[in-house]
Amino acid sequence: MILNVARKELKSVFASPMGWIILALLMFAFGTYYLNGVNDYFEVMSGAIRPAERYGVTQFVGQTVYGLASFIMLFAVPLLSMRLISEERRSQTLPFLFSAPISLTEVVLGKFVGLVAFLSILIVYIALMLFTLNIWSDIDFGYILANSLGLFLLVASFSALGLYFSSLTSQPVVAAILSFIALFALMILDRFFAGDPSNTMAQLSLMRHFQSFAGGLIDTADLAYFVLFIITFLTLTIRRLDADRLRG
């Protein structure tokens, strides 16, 4: 049933130009950065750098592309997540899902899975693009996989938060703005506490936890952070929708 809801969401993203345009623009952006990364690599590495300081092409190009991806998703996810529930609220289509034999949890998970599946297309695309480096060099697959996993968790966290804000309002634009502000705040939280990295507030920053994945490291602490983040916001969304049913 979760999959059926997810299928519906995916279908609805591709039924409008929005989904295709976002896919095309993002792929264009990633492609450009990839190309620049490869060009720069030859310029930087051919010259003045001492052999001991040189590092691999995977990391050099991957860093550029994944850095951009994590930043761009900050804008792309709120745009996609905004309509998930608030649009249904506005056009009063929620009773369609509520009167079908599916639980609220399945509805929320289905919507979440649908959005994450859509965004995973981009993650797979980026990974495939970087794998092509392997044609002429010997790349570090582990680094790319760690980064892909990190990006996936980051994007899933964004989606969970976006879904929650979407459930709060019946105005998709308000949902987008709110989730963008919230995500942006969570992203740069660690900058505010740069002087004191052990501060609890800094620990909440999404970017900080993405850093280890960006370095190619899969740390269970960060993994747990993302999973808890996702569960928290999905639970809040379910509770919000349940409140609709209880309070009307």
Binding site: M1, N4, V5, R7, K8, K11, S12, A15, S16, S91, Q92, T93, L94, P95, F96, L97, F98, S99, A100, P101, I102, S103, R245, L246, G248
Partner: protein
């Protein structure tokens, strides 16, 4: 005949901010019945329907669909219901086929029966030639049909339609009514409306709800009897005295109206029509019109919404 209870509502109450939108509504529905839900705006019709379909949790009371409790086993109970809310829940970016396929899938129609279910629903609602059209581009009436198709796609035991004929043209309304009757033969249908003749045409059971309370619950024939009454409207060129009319056997009451018209009430089993005509001819009253005086349904409705509880109880029995 064994009666299969499809819907049991027990003392449904819903409180919005301290005000009771629906209070203590109880009723049963058996298989093969079409129940009409009547009431003025804001009487609690839609709220009751939302509670029946599990879209809204009742503040008190319970709903059972074919014996399955809506609050305890919402998934099983919901699987037996097809619901068309007042605002059609249509995803306008999909085509009719796509939308109905999604509806079938979400209502647990097994994947090999989906195509058949979609075709069947389209055929019943007259949508076959609209399969590939975007719902957005359909006219209001066709969108309404898609809404109904969505509600019957999984062949539910209970179909709940909130104002199904709003915005349709007369021919479509007739089609939809036929469809509702057809569904009503082997399933149960609950429909709300404020078009009174519609209730008379399609329903065999009527409930009138006013200010959240059930004020009438009974068969359609009771309502019809209320409507026809034992009254005649007679036009005379030379109107006689009221006392003259009262002398005719069977006439129990007479009153003079404007334009030389008179309203005559007669006893339950008497037929004074002929006697009145003969008297009119004999006395040269100049009879030019005689017709049964039908209370308009609106009057019946108003009457019922203000009627005391005794009548409602008597008719429910």
């Amino acid at each position: 005949m064994m009666t299969n209870l499809t819907v049991e509502a027990l003392e449904l109450t819903r409180i919005y901010g301290g005000r009771e939108a629906v209070s203590n509504v109880s009723f049963n529905l058996t298989q093969g019945q079409v129940l009409g839900f009547l009431g003025p705006n804001g009487a609690g019709k839609s709220t009751t329907m939302k509670m029946l379909t599990g879209n809204l949790a009742p503040s008190a009371g319970s709903v059972k669909i074919c014996g399955i409790d809506m609050i305890e086993n919402p998934k099983e109970a919901k699987a037996l219901i097809g619901y068309l809310p007042e605002m059609r829940p249509l995803y306008k970016e999909f085509t009719v086929d796509e939308y109905l396929t999604i509806a079938a899938r979400l209502h647990r129609v097994s994947s090999r029966n989906i195509k058949k279910a979609v075709d069947n629903a389209k055929e019943r609602c007259g949508l076959t030639h609209m399969s590939k059209r975007l719902i957005e581009n359909l006219s209001n009436g066709y969108q309404q049909r898609v809404g109904i198709a969505q509600a019957i796609i999984h062949n539910p035991m209970v179909v709940i339609l909130d104002e199904p004929t709003v915005g349709l043209d007369p021919i479509q309304i007739r089609d939809i009514r036929t469809l509702i009757r057809e569904i009503g033969t082997d399933h149960s249908v609950i429909l709300s409306t404020h078009i009174l003749p519609e209730v008379e045409m399609v329903c065999d059971h009527v409930q009138i709800i006013d200010k959240g309370k059930l004020v009438f619950n009974g068969g359609i024939d009771v309502l019809k009897r209320q409507r026809i009454g034992n009254k005649l409207l007679i036009g005379f060129k030379n109107a006689p005295q009221v006392s003259d009319l009262l002398q005719i056997a069977g006439v129990s009451e007479a009153e003079a109206l404007e334009n030389n018209m008179m309203r005559v009430r007669f006893a339950e089993d008497s037929m004074p029509h002929e006697a009145i005509v003969q008297a009119a001819v004999k006395n040269g009253w100049g009879l030019y019109q005689i017709a049964p005086d039908q209370t308009s349904l609106e009057d019946v409705f108003v009457q019922l919404t203000y009627q005391d509880a005794a009548v409602a109880e008597a008719s429910a029995a």
